[in-house]
Symmetry: C2
Subunit: 249 residues, 2 copies
DNA sequence: GTAATAGTGTCTTTGAGACAATATTAG
DNA sequence: CTAATATTGTCTCAAAGACACTATTAC
C-alpha cells in the first residue's frame, strides 16, 4: 500500500480547540463559549474553529485566541514582554464519533493568560465567560461537573492537568501574572492552580533562590494590603531545576 | 462565523506517523523506512500512513505499528504482560507546506519497544531498519544528522526528547526491556537513552527503593556475565516520585 | 494600638552524589 | 587464579518541610 496517495485520501475536517486558562478570585478558570446552534445547542464549549487551508495549526490557534480575547501570543511580532498569553499545543482528538455530523480531527491548544481587565472576554456575538474549572470538571466524589459539548470535558481536563504539571518544572506560572507581580501573587497562582495551600516562607525562599525565575522590577506595591511587597517580572528561565514540588501528589 | 459548518469545510488529509524507539547494542534506535516513490524518493522516513475514515487516531497508529513490527500495544486485547509496546500520542504537525502535494496534517505517535528478536523489522516490501538516533539526528557540533523525508527530523527529535524526559518521572524505561530483566539491564537502558554513564550502586539503590517500580520475578540470570543477577518484571507503578534524575541537565 | 501581608532565619529529614568493600559467577 | 558484574553500605551535601520571628504598611 502506498503512503500519501494524493489521488485517493479520505477527507477530514480539521479544527483547533482552545483551553484558555486564567486565575480569577483565587480560582483556576477556563474560557467557555455557549453554542448557538446544533449539535449541543445551548451547551458550553471550548472556543475554536476550522483551520484555514493556508494557515498552520498554531497560527489558527493564535487567531482564534485573538478573536476571543484580544490577547496576542508571546513571541508574536510587535508584542512587548509580559503582555500576551502563552500558547502551546496540547493534544489531538479524532474519535470517529466525536462530531455527529462529519469526521472532525481537532488539534487542541493550551493558552495561559493573565487575569484580563475586561470582564466580558468575548469579542463577537456568542456569549462567553470565565468558568471555574472546579465547576466545569467537578470536585470528585460523585461530582462530575457540567456536561460540555462534544468531548470538551476530556480536552479541558487534559489541559488543566497539563497546566498543573507544567508549572512544577517550568516558570510558566508567571504567564498567569501581570507584567509586574509580587512573590505573594505568584504563590496565589500556584495555590489556585493546584488547589492547595503553600507555606509562604518556603515558597519565598524557593522562588527567589532559583536563578532566572524572577527579575527584580525595582518598585513595591501594597495592592494586596499589609507590608509593601517587592515587584518582579518573569526572568528568562524556562525550566525549573530542581522543580517546584506539588504537595500530596 | 459559525463553527463546524458541515456544508463548507476545507478538506485535509490526516495521517499518523510513528516514532518507534528501541535500545540495541547500547544505542537508542528508531525504526525507519525507505521511501520508494516521490516526493523524497530514496529518503528515510518514519513509518506511517493515512487514517481510515472509520478508525480512531490511536487505532490507526496501533495498526501501523503492528504492520511494521508485528508488535501489539500494551492493553490491547489478547496481549499478555510484558509483550507489546508502549504507545502514546506525541504531537501533531500541520505546516501547510510540509507535504508538497496536498495539505496533510500528521498526528505523530511515540512507541517504545523492547529489542525485537527479528533483525528485519519490516513486514512488507519496503526496506526498513533500526537506525541509531545519534546517526539520524547528529551529535551536535556541526553534525545535523541525515536528511529525512518531510519534517520527520523534527518529529523524530520531538519523540526522542519526549522519551528522554519521560523515563525521568515515569516507569516507562521498562517498556524497552524484555518481560524479565535485571537491574543492570534497566540501567543500560537509561544510559543508552540518555547517553550518559550512571553509578551502578546509586542506580540499584534508587530503583529497588522505589515502591512499585520493580517486581521480583524469582529467578536469576548470568546472561550479562559476572555474578548472577536477580530478575524483575515491571511493577504496576507508572509515575516515579521522586523522579530519576538525569545528570547534567 | 490591631490586622494583614512581606521577608529572614533555624532545625530536621529526605534523598542524591561520591565513593569502598564484598559476593558470585565464567573462564 | 583473574575478569566481570551484582549487591550492600557509608559519608557528605543539597534542598524540602516545619516551624518562629521581625518588618512595614492600612486602619
Amino acid at each position: 500500500m502506498s503512503r500519501y496517495d494524493p489521488s485517493a485520501f479520505p477527507p477530514f475536517a480539521v479544527t483547533v480547540d482552545l483551553v484558555v486558562l486564567t486565575v480569577r478570585d483565587h480560582a483556576l478558570c477556563a474560557l467557555m463559549v455557549r453554542r448557538g446552534e446544533p449539535p449541543f445547542q445551548g451547551f458550553w464549549a471550548l472556543p475554536g474553529g476550522f483551520v484555514r487551508p493556508d494557515e498552520g495549526l498554531i497560527e489558527a490557534a493564535a487567531r482564534e485566541l485573538a478573536e476571543e480575547t484580544g490577547l496576542r501570543t508571546h513571541g508574536a511580532p510587535g508584542t512587548g514582554p509580559g503582555v500576551g498569553a502563552h500558547l502551546e499545543q496540547l493534544a489531538t482528538y479524532g474519535d470517529p464519533q466525536r462530531d455527529p455530523r462529519l469526521r472532525v480531527v481537532s488539534v487542541a491548544y493550551l493558552a495561559l493568560a493573565p487575569d484580563l481587565p475586561t470582564p466580558r472576554p468575548g469579542g463577537d456575538v456568542r456569549s462567553a465567560r470565565w468558568a471555574p474549572v472546579e465547576e466545569l470538571l467537578g470536585r470528585g466524589k460523585g461530582d462530575d461537573g457540567m456536561l460540555l459539548a462534544f468531548d470538551h470535558t476530556e480536552i479541558l481536563a487534559d489541559g488543566v492537568e497539563r497546566a498543573r504539571s507544567k508549572i512544577e518544572y517550568s516558570a510558566l506560572a508567571t504567564a498567569f501574572c501581570p507584567e509586574e507581580f509580587t512573590v505573594g501573587e505568584l504563590r496565589r497562582v500556584y495555590e489556585s492552580v493546584w488547589g492547595v495551600q503553600l507555606d509562604p516562607r518556603n515558597f519565598h525562599r524557593k522562588v527567589t533562590g532559583t536563578p532566572g525565575f524572577l527579575l527584580p522590577a525595582g518598585g513595591t506595591t501594597t495592592r494586596q494590603g499589609g507590608r509593601p511587597a517587592q515587584l518582579f517580572r518573569a526572568g528568562g528561565a524556562t525550566v525549573l531545576n530542581p522543580p517546584m514540588l506539588r504537595p500530596d501528589s
